[in-house]
Symmetry: C2
Subunit: 350 residues, 2 copies
Amino acid sequence: MLEAKNPQKTDLENLGEFGLIDHLTKDLPQSQPSTKLGIGDDAAVLDHSELQTVLTTDMLVEGVHFDLAYMPLQHLGYKAVVVNLSDVYAMNATATQITVSIAVSNRFSLEALEAFYAGVRHAAQTYGVDVVGGDTTSSTKGMIISITALGTAAPEKLCYRSGAKENDLLVVSGDLGGAYMGLQVLEREKAVYAVNPQSQPDLEPYHYIVQRQLKPEARKDIPELLAALEVKPTAMIDISDGLSSEILHLCKASKLGCDLYEDKIPLDPTVISSCEEFHLDSTTVALSGGEDYELLFTIAPSDYDKIKGNPNLTVIGHMTQAAAGAYLVTRANTKIPLQAQGWNAFEDKK
Amino acid sequence: MLEAKNPQKTDLENLGEFGLIDHLTKDLPQSQPSTKLGIGDDAAVLDHSELQTVLTTDMLVEGVHFDLAYMPLQHLGYKAVVVNLSDVYAMNATATQITVSIAVSNRFSLEALEAFYAGVRHAAQTYGVDVVGGDTTSSTKGMIISITALGTAAPEKLCYRSGAKENDLLVVSGDLGGAYMGLQVLEREKAVYAVNPQSQPDLEPYHYIVQRQLKPEARKDIPELLAALEVKPTAMIDISDGLSSEILHLCKASKLGCDLYEDKIPLDPTVISSCEEFHLDSTTVALSGGEDYELLFTIAPSDYDKIKGNPNLTVIGHMTQAAAGAYLVTRANTKIPLQAQGWNAFEDKK
């Protein structure tokens, strides 16, 4: 853990709440014209003028959502921002501002929080969003992060979950299952390290999937690509809990069924090889692994030619009427009902 | 604690994350015309059209900010919303939407979360704000709450901390120190209860100050009153950390000093009598107690006649040039430098 390695750590108690906030946020740049006032008053002030505002929030808890044994704090700051921005892009909107709140126990030093904020700042710069507020306080145990993201879009650009129509094509960006397999590799290395602290893990063969877990990116490029292709998705959602769970959300909101084709699900070669190594079924991993932060959307069949052959996009199925149900069509051409096996924050962790 | 008394409690594990969110948010009404879409998609959608948006967020941690031994969960839900709305009103804005995120350990039952959300709902109705999003997840210890509030105002109506001018009058709403003295009473009763669980506390003489601690109200009425009186504050801030700390924020942001008159600080008779009982100095309590959620603002001297005699407002001092410093002028007419002794979330809790 970062804070354990640092011999020159500064106790948070010595800074006081106001000193800490000033220190951590002092060099956060602002680039959004809509940010009229950032940190420093009772509230931030934004002017989204004729555009509509989208608003989303996520909470991340140490020991539930992340493990600092293998998640560097700088990566954690980056990822915490990215998972929120992904929800903004899933509305086909532009991300503009975030607030970042953290509660930490006294085992964290100032240097640890600086590393976290360095990751936040890097993500804010990469995605062009302004950090306009937040809260920094103490916890009785561990680190808790709460981020709220705002974005803007013209009303006619917004994509809801509820707009899919029968026969629309189901499309996904990127590839799936990587973040989950990266987690399996990191969990294995953690177990090895617990037995032999002198071990030197060789993560190079797993570089892609470990990056998908530790430093995921949100698909800011997809709304831009779709605008350039003149395609407006009829419905869109981000894949945070696994493909299966998100497809069922789309079906429920749009009052439809779907056929998802197993052989169309995009998988990186590293996901396939690591699934073999861990004796896991790659389709199950893609359906239920989660944390991919890709976008899942539906388009009218007439738009197919516009996206055909684009390396970022894969057609994986189509929407059917509600009575037909939601199914996975396997390689053996049998139909299995899709089930929401997404990650459950309240499941028993024994 | 509420959850300990309830024999029919429902384990959160049995509900799953999606079921829980649906259940807790199913009867949250929406009344704001600017709420285009609330809970149920990747993000909420708001239309603040020609108005500017104000945005503020606060995190509350069990064992740091609240103690469930004497804070009923319904009151906690109410208070968590109120402390955020207070920041919106301190911008002279109208509160419109909130998001509510909570993380709880498995010691909390569904019924406990329902009680919390009942308080959230009550506050949302009382203040006319819509709950448009949030997150519900598990923690490894205790309850953590993160609320973000949005509001709107015409740009020319907004009051920043930085707008005060030399000779402006320093005005406060309501009275101060009550929440802190209510906390002293509750802490004493908790200690008595620990020794003798059969004891029946008589909190009636302390009703006002206990209410100020357990169920504070935000001053939604003050921006409305000021508009009716045709007074625009030159600067405004809410009193969450104690009068002294907030005055120093105003002085720093406006690059001014001030004279605050001890004999003008508004105190409820219950605060004075309980300070005598607890052998505390009432001025110190008002200056540093915190959690009053009153509004502190400055007005041009020419506006004095408009607020004179209003029972909601008290002139407690005036702004001076920065070089003069920030002082408390005591009843004995000596000047003592004001110090920020506001509550520090990172102080040692031994």
